[in-house]
């Protein structure tokens, strides 16, 4: 079985701070990590390979520095790695990103594609399903359990109030929740091997036969950023004292209703 896992290198958003004056991001010194959901997806792929055999390929679109993320995936045990990196790819929104990754996946080949549910920087949860759409694959998003039997995968898929257990014929695409798997650590042997393996870098020319240049990058993206800004700094709040419990409840209820929380 050939499993391809799509990963994204993201800034650790827990470490991102805002410049209080300008409301812009301070990204200096913020560590880059493999997105949590993607790492869980990679772990699930490695576990499936251990059970039923096959290979695990990792694919990442990003700047040349994303090589580090792919090396880390190799050190966890992935068999091979592709970095999709080109100036033409820059500024892509989810549609354009999915177009590029789907083109690469067609060339690589797969039985099962796993992506994370969403990246912690963009939080869109759109690239996985849009890769699925470009490849016309059946998809199961929000996987919290995943198994394989013959040509079929079995997935438990989470909704807010329930879950579905689904049976899907491969080839298909699954988006993974962090809860799907607890990712393993890199092994020392793995780290050494990772730097002996090759990360295949594909630029625009490697994919151009199957890629419409009008549909990728900043210009090919249907959506564009119109404005970006920070939230307003916290206004000093209201402090209420010497209230009875009932008065306190009333004050809280007023805010909950005003803010449409209830």
């Amino acid at each position: 079985m050939k499993i391809v896992v799509c990963i994204k290198q993201v800034p650790d958003t827990a470490e991102v701070k805002l410049d209080p004056k300008t409301g812009t991001l301070i990204r200096d010194g913020v560590p880059s990590i493999i997105n949590h959901d993607d790492r869980a997806g990679l772990e699930a792929a490695l576990q499936l390979r251990e059970r039923v055999g096959g290979t695990v390929t990792v694919v990442c679109m990003g700047p040349p520095q994303a090589d580090v993320a792919l090396r880390e995936a190799l050190a966890m045990g992935a068999d091979d790695a592709y970095l999709l990196s080109a100036r033409e790819f820059g500024g892509s929104d989810t549609y354009a990103t999915a177009t590029i990754i789907a083109t690469a996946l067609k060339k690589i080949g797969f039985d099962l594609v796993i992506t994370g549910r969403q990246a912690i920087d963009g939080d869109t949860a759109q690239v996985g399903p849009q890769i699925g759409e470009q490849l016309r694959l059946p998809q199961v998003s929000y996987a919290e359990e995943l198994d394989v039997d013959g040509d079929y995968i079995f997935v438990k898929r989470q909704f807010e109030d329930s879950a579905h257990v689904l049976k899907v014929k491969m080839p298909c695409l699954v988006t993974a929740l962090s809860e799907l798997c607890e990712p393993r650590y890199m092994s020392v042997r793995g780290i050494v091997d990772a730097y002996e393996k090759t990360v295949t870098v594909w630029g625009f020319d490697d994919l151009k036969n199957d890629l419409n240049p009008e549909w990728i990058g900043l210009k090919g993206s249907p959506t564009n950023v119109f404005q970006s800004f920070g939230k307003k700094m916290r206004d000093p709040g209201t402090l209420l004292k010497d209230l009875t419990a009932d008065q306190a409840v009333e004050a809280i209820m007023e805010k909950l209703i005003e803010r449409h929380i209830i």
Binding site: T13, A14, K21, T22, G23, T94, Y95, I120, D121, D123, T124, A125, Q126, V127, P129, Q130, E133, P138, S141, E144, K156, Q158, F159, E160, D161, H164, V165, L166, V168, K169, E179, P222, T223, N224, V225, F226, Q227, S228, F229, G230, K232, R234, G237, L239, L240, K241, L243, A245, D246, A248, A251, I252, M253, K255, L256, I257, R259, H260, I261, I262
Partner: protein, 359 residues
Amino acid sequence: MSKDIYVVVEQRSGAIQKVSIELIGEACKLAADSGEQVIAVLLGYNIKDKADMLIHYGASKVLVIDHPVLEHYTTEPYVKAVTKVIKDCDPNIVLFGASSIGRDMAPRVAGRVHTGLTADTTRLDIDVKKYQEYLKTSTSLALQPERVDALDTSDRYLKMTRPAFGGNVMATIVCRNYTPQMATVRPGVMEMPKKDTSRAGEIVPFDANLSMDDMNVEILKVVHDDKKTVDITEAKILVSGGRGVGGPDGYKPLRELADVLGGEVSSSRIGVDSGWIEKDRQVGQTGKTVHPNLYIACGISGAIQHLAGMEGSEFIIAINKDESCPMMKIADLGIVGDLHAIVPKLTEAIKAYQRSQTL
């Protein structure tokens, strides 16, 4: 020419989801600014009788797609049906709830019709003046009014605003060269419209050429009330306890409050270190960073490490006996008082309010 605002209505087991009603309310406001109509798209099986309600909340017209393949949500039949509506009707705007279903379906629809989609929006504007007002009063651009004033007030595109980078920044997205303009909208953000049972509208069955063969996955089991692993970073509402709750039993009333609010219980470090509550519920530097819409801090004094993990919350309510503690300084609403007296009463008050608001 593309026109009108379409809302893809979500139902689960025949029950219309609240987010869809919120969307109809928001769509009506946008439609008033653009001179368009609001059209609801209702998909499911045996759901025709729900269409009236969508009219009562403000839709001018309801397209009903009723088919057995839509009984339970699966991606392909729903995507096929909504795509058919877009191809046949050429909407200007299409809105989905940013629920697990909406966020599964909308990206594929956008991919299939080749248009843009903005995820998990919290604000929508057509009218530039209203958008400028928002930028000046509620964002960091209050400090750069010249940048706000420079915007072209004749712009009629949908301006879709959403948080990114874990809520650290906001971005407004536009989709100018493709139609429809599409967004998923975060549940609980837009205002519920008023119901008016005298409102009339058109209810039209829509044939989306569906067949049972459109389902390309097989549902083996539907599991309800599944006990899920807790991820407090996903929770929209957190009721959080600290030293002031007093012990493991002190979290029980907090949990009841969280339940009526549809939220989760979290904790400061003391609760975890004392073994009162599970580690995965800890907020703070050594715990998790959270950005809920509402954070209720009960008996938490607010050590800097704790504040670092929750200061990104949209609205903070603090209940504490000590009015001088740091948490009170950052809270939007600080109540000086006894949480043991206030929390259970608050739970009861919310229950009573919710009963009075049932659809």
